[in-house]
Amino acid sequence: MKSILPLNRHLIQRLGFGLITFMAVLTVVPIIVTVIYILVRGAPAISWEFLSGFPLEGMTAGGILPAIIGTFYLTIGTAIFSVPLGIAAAIYLSEYAADNRWTRLIRISIINLAGIPSVVYGLFGLGLFVLFLRFGTSILAASLTLSIMTLPVIISTSEEALRAVPPSFRTVSISLGATRWQTIRRIVLKEAVPGILTGVILGLERAAGETAPILFTGAAFFLPRLPVSPFDATMALPYHLFVIATQVPNMPIQIQYGTALVLLAFVLTMNIIATVIRSRARARREW
């Protein structure tokens, strides 16, 4: 009797661990495989002409420069609106807000903003920025829409980074005659920069890859010239991929994979930069 029981429990553990490990592997391996697959099938399409040229012959040939530039503009536009606002909101939540009903309402609002479907953001952007404020289908409208969508990510990660700074720093700073804002600026913000930066990059990375919010607010099917003003519409990588994958007949597969690769590379690079910043900051922390 005694010898069977422990064996049983440990056997169950071995099986259980094995199952869980298997599930984790099954979750993670496809990610690696996917990235490699796109890399392999898209690499042949990558050339200087591809990256710097315009689409030709109804998109079935040529390059994707306007889409690359467009995504670049949209990312910058999103950053301009969402980063200052997001960080300021995070500062409020971390340093100023009392634990009352209003603060809870703010937090619920942020969680909600994070959960709203991206296409609903598109509708909202259409209703407010494109039509009501008459910005038209433009980089401006699309950037503003993407900014509101990116706000919750920036606020959450920034707040976490600010809260990670030890409270004792604030106490000491105040005891040496600093005001609250001086304390925030000189110590708290400074120490939270890596965490905030990581959050900003991850947020912008997601904005760069989104299609639905820009569908009706700024994306154009094809433009013969690069956009010159914020009121111009623009092509963009994610929308371009969607278009050539579903709307263009006789689309060479290689160009499709090439476009996917460029978009993936853009997103991956930002991801890697953010991860590196985070781990380096953790190693260099002076507390």
């Binding site: 030890p166 004792s168 720093f169 106490t171 000491v172 700073s173 105040i174 005891s175 040496l176 005659g177 600093a178 005001t179 001086q182 000189r186 110590i187 120490e191 922390r285 002076e286 507390w287």
Partner: protein, 251 residues
């Protein structure tokens, strides 16, 4: 001459706990006044009132007056920033700011608007000498302060407060994490400092109180039970509760 006069100070926190009950005492200039007693007695709270640091916590009600040089610092119109430069504080755990030794020391001065390099250098040297730390770090002023040992960090915190040339220095169990040698260095520094400054100390043991006090007040659950001369309160306390605590019958 009393530098600080506390009159009928009563303090209650937002969660209802009463921290100080009708405390009145006077703190002599250029002396070490020790506030001692078991945990929860209100000593730290009183200390934090003296530089209005309790503004940072949820205080429901505070009544009474605290006069420093004759002015009531509990008045809402008080310039708390100027107050905190005049009344410096050293905390129980050494908290060095995440910067170099030099930057730690100059932090308060730069906040006050001091930009002149020579003035800052002067303050750095002066305060480190007062805290008996100059010889140990004078070659490494630009290194991160976190690299110092615990005892050195605490003396750095003392120097940091001194850099602002305060008139009063508050110390809340400053040697609680330190080894006996570092503790001795801090206590010696205090004896030197009291010639120029007014010192209020919460000790972490009765023995430390006995070693350092010129005057001492015994606090029990928010009340000031007894206050008197540093020597006699430990050898000949008037109140039975003080005697019980000093002799170790409770604590």
């Amino acid at each position: 001459m009393d530098k600080i006069v506390i009159e009928h100070l009563t303090l209650q926190y937002a969660d209802g706990t009463e921290s100080l009950r009708d405390v009145s005492l006077g703190i002599r200039e250029n002396a070490v006044t020790v506030l001692f007693g078991p945990a929860g007695g209100g000593k730290s709270t009183l200390l934090r009132c003296l530089n209005r640091l309790n503004d940072l916590t949820e205080v429901r009600s505070a009544s009474g007056r605290i006069l420093i040089d004759g002015e009531n610092i509990l008045d809402p119109k008080t310039d708390v920033v100027a107050l905190r430069r005049k009344v410096g504080m050293v905390f129980a755990r050494p908290v060095v700011l995440p910067m170099s030794i030099r930057q730690n020391l100059c932090y308060g001065l730069e906040l006050a608007g001091e930009k002149r390099r020579y003035k800052l250098d002067e303050a750095v040297e002066r305060s480190l000498k007062l805290a008996a730390l100059w010889d140990e770090v004078k070659e490494r002023l630009n290194e991160p302060a976190i690299a110092l040992s615990g005892g050195q960090q605490q003396r750095l915190c003392l120097a940091r407060s001194l850099a602002l040339q305060p008139e009063i220095i508050l110390l809340d169990e400053p040697t609680s994490g330190l080894d006996p040698i570092s503790t001795g260095k801090v206590e010696a520094a205090l004896q030197e400092l009291k010639k120029e400054y007014t010192i209020v100390l919460v000790p972490h043991s009765v023995q430390q109180a006995g070693r350092t006090a010129d005057y001492a007040g015994f606090f029990l659950q928010g009340e000031l039970v007894e206050y008197g001369d540093g020597k006699s309160i430990f050898t000949n306390p008037r109140d039975k509760r003080t005697e019980d605590y000093v002799t170790g019958r409770f604590g």
